[in-house]
C-alpha cells in the first residue's frame, strides 16, 4: 500500500466517523444528564429522511438541515416527555422512537415521492458538497502524482463538506461546555446525583430537557449529513445501525468527548476498510495465527473467571481454532503438501470484513476493553424523595 492509499483510508475514516461522532456526542450529552438514549438511531433516520425531502423540495441543503434538526428535536422531546416528565422507562421510549422512525420514514417517502420508500436523487446544489481549500488538488490523477504533503492536504484536510468540519469542531466545543461552563458542571452532576442538583436549588427537569434537546440537534445534523452530504438522498434504513454503534463508541469512550472522537474514528476506520477493501488476500499462516491468538486470549481470560465463562468462551475459541484448521485443510487442495498450504493466499470473506465494526461493538459491550462506569443516575427517572 502506498502513502496515498493510507491518506485515502484516513479520509474515508473521517467521513464515516462523522455521523457516528455526532450521534455519539448526542448520546454523551443525554447520558451525562442521566437519560439513556437508545433512540439515536431513530432520530438520525428521521432527520436523514426529512433533510433529504426538504432539501429536494426547497433546493437548499441548509433548509433541509434545519428540517432534519427540527424532526430530531421533536423526537427528543417525545423521549423527554416519556422519560423525564412521565418518568417512564427510557429504553422502551427509545425503542419506540426507533420503530416509529424506521416505519414512518419509508411510508411517508413512498407517499410523497412514490419511489419505493426512498427520495429521488438530490441535485448537486441541494446537497452539502465538498469544500476545496485554496491550492488543493481536486483531480484524483493529480493527487496520485503529487508529493505526500500535497496528497495529505488535498485529500485529507481539504475536500470535505462543511458538516465534517462542524462535526469535528463539536468535539472541543463539547469538551469546553462540559468542563468549563456552569451548565456543564450541572449537566455532569445531574447524571450522577440528581438529588444533589435538586437540593442545590437547580431544576433537574429543565437540565435534563436541555440535554435531550442538544442530543436532538446533534442527531439531526448526523442524519442530514448521511442523506445530503454522504449520499444524495434518503434510502430505507440508511443509518444502518450507526445509532447503536455510536452507543457502543460512547461506552468505549467512557462518556468523554475526546475519547469519543478516538472511538468513532476507530469505528470509521472499520467502515472505511470495508468500503475500500472488498477483496483482502492473506496467507493462510497469518489467518491461522490471528485466529489462534484470539482463541488463546479468550481462553486465558475465561480461565480467570467462573466455569460458565470458560464453557462459553472456550466453545467460541474452539470454533475459531476449527475455522483456522479448516482454512488450512482447504488450502491443501490448492497447494502441494501441508507446509506449502500454510503459505497459500486465500481471500478473506467480505462478510467478515463488513462485520468488523459490529464484531467490535460486541467486544466493547462485553467489557473486554477496560471497565467503563456509566453515569450513576443513568436510566433512572428522578423522583424527589422525602
Amino acid at each position: 500500500m502506498d502513502f496515498f492509499t493510507f491518506v485515502q483510508l484516513g479520509d474515508a475514516s473521517v467521513r464515516m466517523a462523522i455521523p457516528l461522532l455526532l450521534a455519539c456526542l448526542a448520546g454523551l450529552f443525554s447520558e451525562r444528564a442521566g437519560i439513556f438514549d437508545i433512540g439515536l438511531e431513530g432520530k438520525m433516520l428521521a432527520a436523514a429522511f426529512l433533510a433529504a425531502a426538504v432539501s429536494l423540495v426547497s433546493g437548499n441543503a441548509w433548509v433541509g438541515l434545519l428540517a432534519g434538526i427540527g424532526i430530531s428535536i421533536a423526537l427528543s422531546l417525545i423521549h423527554g416527555l416519556a422519560s423525564i416528565t412521565f418518568r417512564g422507562n427510557q429504553l422502551i421510549s427509545g425503542v419506540a422512537i426507533n420503530f416509529f422512525a424506521a416505519g414512518l420514514t419509508v411510508v411517508v417517502a413512498q407517499g410523497w415521492f412514490a419511489q419505493g420508500g426512498r427520495t429521488p436523487s438530490l441535485p448537486k446544489d441541494a446537497r452539502f458538497n465538498g469544500i476545496d481549500f485554496p491550492g488543493a488538488l481536486t483531480r484524483v490523477r493529480d493527487k496520485m502524482q503529487a508529493d505526500p504533503w500535497a496528497q495529505f492536504y488535498s485529500e485529507f484536510i481539504s475536500g470535505h463538506s462543511i458538516l465534517v468540519y462542524l462535526g469535528l469542531l463539536t468535539v472541543p466545543l463539547s469538551w469546553w461546555v462540559l468542563y468549563r461552563t456552569r451548565f456543564g458542571l450541572r449537566l455532569r452532576a445531574v447524571g450522577e446525583a440528581p438529588e444533589a442538583v435538586d437540593t442545590a436549588g437547580i431544576s433537574v427537569v429543565r437540565l435534563r430537557y436541555t440535554a435531550v434537546i442538544i442530543a436532538g440537534v446533534l442527531c439531526g445534523v448526523a442524519g442530514a449529513y448521511l442523506s445530503t452530504a454522504v449520499q444524495a438522498g434518503f434510502t430505507k434504513d440508511m443509518t444502518a445501525n450507526r445509532g447503536f454503534i455510536a452507543l457502543a463508541a460512547l461506552i468505549f469512550a467512557k462518556w468523554r468527548p475526546w475519547y469519543a472522537l478516538g472511538a468513532c474514528l476507530l469505528f470509521g476506520l472499520f467502515f472505511a476498510i470495508d468500503n475500500r477493501f472488498q477483496n483482502i488476500q492473506l496467507e493462510v499462516i497469518w489467518i491461522m495465527t490471528g485466529l489462534f491468538a484470539a482463541a488463546a486470549a479468550m481462553t486465558l481470560y475465561a480461565l480467570r473467571r467462573e466455569r460458565i465463562d470458560l464453557i462459553v468462551l472456550g466453545g467460541l475459541s474452539a470454533v475459531l481454532v476449527f475455522v483456522g484448521l479448516a482454512t488450512w485443510i482447504g488450502a491443501m487442495d490448492e497447494a502441494i503438501g501441508a507446509t506449502a498450504a500454510l503459505f497459500e493466499t486465500v481471500k478473506v470473506p467480505s462478510q467478515l470484513i463488513q462485520s468488523l465494526p459490529y464484531l467490535f461493538v460486541v467486544v466493547v459491550l462485553a467489557g473486554f476493553v477496560g471497565k467503563a462506569i456509566p453515569p450513576r443516575a443513568g436510566g433512572q427517572p428522578y423522583v424527589k424523595e422525602r
Binding site: 461552563t181 458542571l185 450522577e192 446525583a193 444533589a196 442538583v197 437540593t199 442545590a200 437547580i202 424527589k384
Partner: protein, 535 residues
C-alpha cells in the same frame, strides 16, 4: 407582619399550624414550633413521627397543606429548595446529596456559581472555602474527590455547602448515624462553634444522648404531632423517651448475667476477598459459646457485613469455621442460606429490605421464606400448604406483636420496626443453635427496639449462641456479653462490657490499638481514611 417575640428576640424560625397529609396518612398535624436564633434546637421522635416531613416542608421539598412559615419574623413562602436557600436555610441530609465523582470544591460550588463560566466561580469558591474552613474549623481538601474521603469529611462538605450559600439556619437530619463516636464529638464541636458564630441549628435525631449532650431546647414529635417543647436542662433521657413513645420505656436492656456453655461457633483465621479483589476480612478468629451474645462493633464497611455473609452462606472465604465442632463449607460451592439453616444457623440480615424480606410479597409468605421446605409447610410432598403457613404466620405475628397483625398485607406496608419483627419472628421461631443478627434495630423505633432486644436476650437465656453485629455502640454495650471490635477487616480487640466504655470502643473502632494513649481527631481521621481506601 411581625411574629411574636420571646425575651425580646425574634425567632429565627417560627412555624404556625403546619399540616401535611399523604393520602390518608396525616404526616404532620397542626405543628407549631419556635426556634430562637443562635441556639441548637433538637427535634426528637420515632421513625415515622413526621420529623423528616416537617423539615422537608421547611426546605421546600413538600408544600404544606396548611400553615405558615416565618423566617426571622417574616412570613416566607418556600415552594422549592431555591427559595429555602434564599431564605438562608441550609440542610444536611441523612443521605448526603453529593456528586461522588466531583471534587469537594465542585460540590460546594454546584448551584451557587457566579456566572456561566466555571473558572471564576471555582477560583472564588476555593478562596471562600479556605476562609470558611478557618472560621469554623472545618478542615477539608478542596481538591479531594468525594468518593475518596470518609463519611465524616463528606458531612463537613455538606455543612460547607450550606455555609457557602450563606445559610444562617442549618438543619441536620440524623447526622451521627454514619459517624464513629470520635467523629460525632468532632461534629458537635463544629456545631457549637457555628452556634457561637450566631447560626441557628436544628438537629433531628432519635438518639437521646445527642439531644442531652448538645441541644438547648428540644421538641418531641409523636405520630405527626409536636407533643412538647422543653428546655434540655429541664428534662432527662427517660422523660424524653416516654414523651416520644407515649409510655414508659426501658432504655437499658434488662438481662441476667450470661451462663456460657459449650463453644457453638468457632471461627479460625477467616479471610474474605470480595469479587473486586478487596481484602475485606483479614485473618479473623473468635468463638461464640452457647448462652452468650458476642457483639461485634465497628464503623460500617470494616468487614462485619462480609463476616455475616460468610456465616450466612452466601460469600466465599478461606479459613475454618466450626459449628458445634463440625466444619462449615466456605468454598461457596455447597453453601447457601438453605444449607446453613439445615445446620442450625438462623440469620437476621443487616439489610432487611433486600435480604430479609421480599417487599412486594405479603407478610405470611415472608414468614416462611427459607423454611418453605419444612415438612409442616408441605402437602402431599409436592405442594406448599398455604393455609398452614398462613395460620403459622398469624400466630407469629400475634406473638411478636406485629402491627397491624394482618398477614395478607405486603411487607412494604409495614413500618421498619414491624418489618424487623417479621424477620426476627421467622428466624427465632426456628429454634436455631446460632443466631446471626445484623443491625437488628436500624431504622426501628424505640418501642420496637425494646421488644426485639428482649427477644434476643430470651433466646440467649434459652442457651443459644448469638452473634450480634451493630454499628450502634449503645446497642452493643447494652446487649452483648462480650464485645469484639472490627476495624479494616481485623478484630482489634475483645472487651467485656463491664470493663470498657464508649470512648475506648470508639478508639478501637478507629483502629487505635493503644487505647490508653491520647489521640487527636486528626490521627483518627487519618486512620479511618486509610481503612476507607480499600473500598
Amino acid at each position: 407582619m411581625s411574629a411574636q417575640t420571646q425575651g425580646g428576640q425574634t425567632p429565627a424560625i417560627e412555624l404556625k399550624g403546619i399540616s401535611k397529609a399523604f393520602g390518608p396518612v396525616q404526616a404532620n398535624k397542626d405543628i407549631s414550633i419556635r426556634v430562637m436564633p443562635g441556639t441548637i434546637h433538637g427535634i426528637i421522635g420515632e421513625n415515622g413521627a413526621g420529623k423528616s416531613t416537617l423539615m422537608s416542608i421547611l426546605y421546600g421539598f413538600y408544600k404544606a397543606d396548611s400553615g405558615e412559615i416565618y423566617i426571622n419574623g417574616k412570613l416566607t413562602e418556600i415552594p422549592d429548595s431555591d427559595a429555602a436557600i434564599a431564605a438562608g436555610i441550609g440542610m444536611v441530609f441523612q443521605h448526603f446529596k453529593l456528586v461522588k465523582n466531583f471534587t469537594v470544591l465542585e460540590n460546594v460550588v454546584l448551584g451557587a456559581e457566579d456566572g456561566p463560566m466555571l473558572r471564576p466561580s471555582l477560583r472564588r469558591g476555593r478562596q471562600q472555602l479556605k476562609e470558611l474552613s478557618e472560621e469554623y474549623g472545618l478542615n477539608v481538601d478542596p481538591d479531594a474527590v468525594i468518593e475518596d474521603i470518609g463519611v465524616g469529611m463528606q458531612q463537613r462538605v455538606e455543612i460547607l455547602k450550606a455555609l457557602y450559600r450563606q445559610a444562617d439556619i442549618l438543619i441536620l437530619d440524623e447526622p451521627t448515624g454514619v459517624l464513629t463516636p470520635a467523629e460525632a464529638d468532632q461534629l458537635f464541636r463544629i456545631l457549637n462553634r457555628l452556634k457561637e458564630e450566631g447560626k441557628t441549628i436544628i438537629l433531628i435525631t432519635h438518639k437521646l444522648r445527642e439531644i442531652m449532650d448538645i441541644t438547648d431546647t428540644v421538641s418531641v414529635m409523636r405520630r405527626g404531632e409536636m407533643t412538647s417543647t422543653v428546655k434540655t436542662t429541664d428534662t432527662n433521657p427517660a422523660d424524653l423517651a416516654e414523651r416520644m413513645v407515649g409510655r414508659k420505656v426501658l432504655l437499658r436492656v434488662d438481662k441476667k448475667p450470661a451462663t456460657p456453655g459449650e463453644v457453638v461457633l468457632d471461627v479460625r483465621n477467616l479471610d474474605v476477598v470480595d469479587e473486586k479483589d478487596v481484602h475485606r476480612v483479614k485473618g479473623v478468629s473468635f468463638q461464640v459459646r452457647a448462652g452468650e451474645i458476642l457483639g461485634i462493633a465497628g464503623v460500617s464497611g470494616n468487614g462485619q457485613s462480609e463476616l455475616l455473609e460468610v456465616l450466612g452462606g452466601y460469600e466465599e472465604a478461606t479459613g475454618e469455621i466450626l459449628l458445634n465442632g463440625q466444619p462449615l463449607d466456605l468454598s461457596g460451592a455447597k453453601s447457601d442460606g438453605q444449607s446453613r439453616r439445615a445446620r442450625g444457623i438462623a440469620h437476621v440480615p443487616e439489610d432487611r429490605q433486600h435480604e430479609g424480606l421480599i417487599m412486594n410479597f405479603s407478610a405470611w409468605e415472608n414468614t416462611a421464606f427459607g423454611y418453605h421446605h419444612d415438612e409442616k409447610y408441605q402437602k402431599n410432598g409436592l405442594l406448599m400448604d398455604n393455609s398452614a403457613i398462613l395460620k403459622d404466620a398469624q400466630e407469629k405475628m400475634d406473638r411478636f406483636d406485629v402491627r397491624p397483625p394482618n398477614p395478607l398485607l405486603a411487607a412494604k406496608n409495614f413500618s421498619g420496626g414491624n418489618q424487623q419483627k417479621i424477620v426476627v419472628a421467622r428466624e427465632i421461631e426456628r429454634d436455631p443453635d446460632l443466631l446471626l443478627v445484623g443491625q437488628p434495630t436500624r431504622g426501628v423505633d424505640i418501642g420496637a427496639i425494646e421488644f426485639i432486644h428482649q427477644q434476643i436476650v430470651a433466646l440467649r437465656d434459652a442457651g443459644k449462641a448469638i452473634l450480634l453485629v451493630s454499628v450502634e455502640l449503645e446497642e452493643i454495650m447494652g446487649l452483648s456479653d462480650r464485645i469484639a471490635v472490627m476495624f479494616d477487616g481485623k478484630i482489634m480487640g475483645e472487651r467485656l462490657p463491664s470493663e470498657t466504655d464508649e470512648k475506648e470502643l470508639g478508639l478501637l473502632m478507629a483502629g487505635m490499638t493503644d487505647t490508653d494513649a491520647p489521640h487527636s481527631i486528626e490521627e483518627i481521621e487519618q486512620n479511618l481514611a486509610h481503612a476507607g481506601e480499600a473500598e
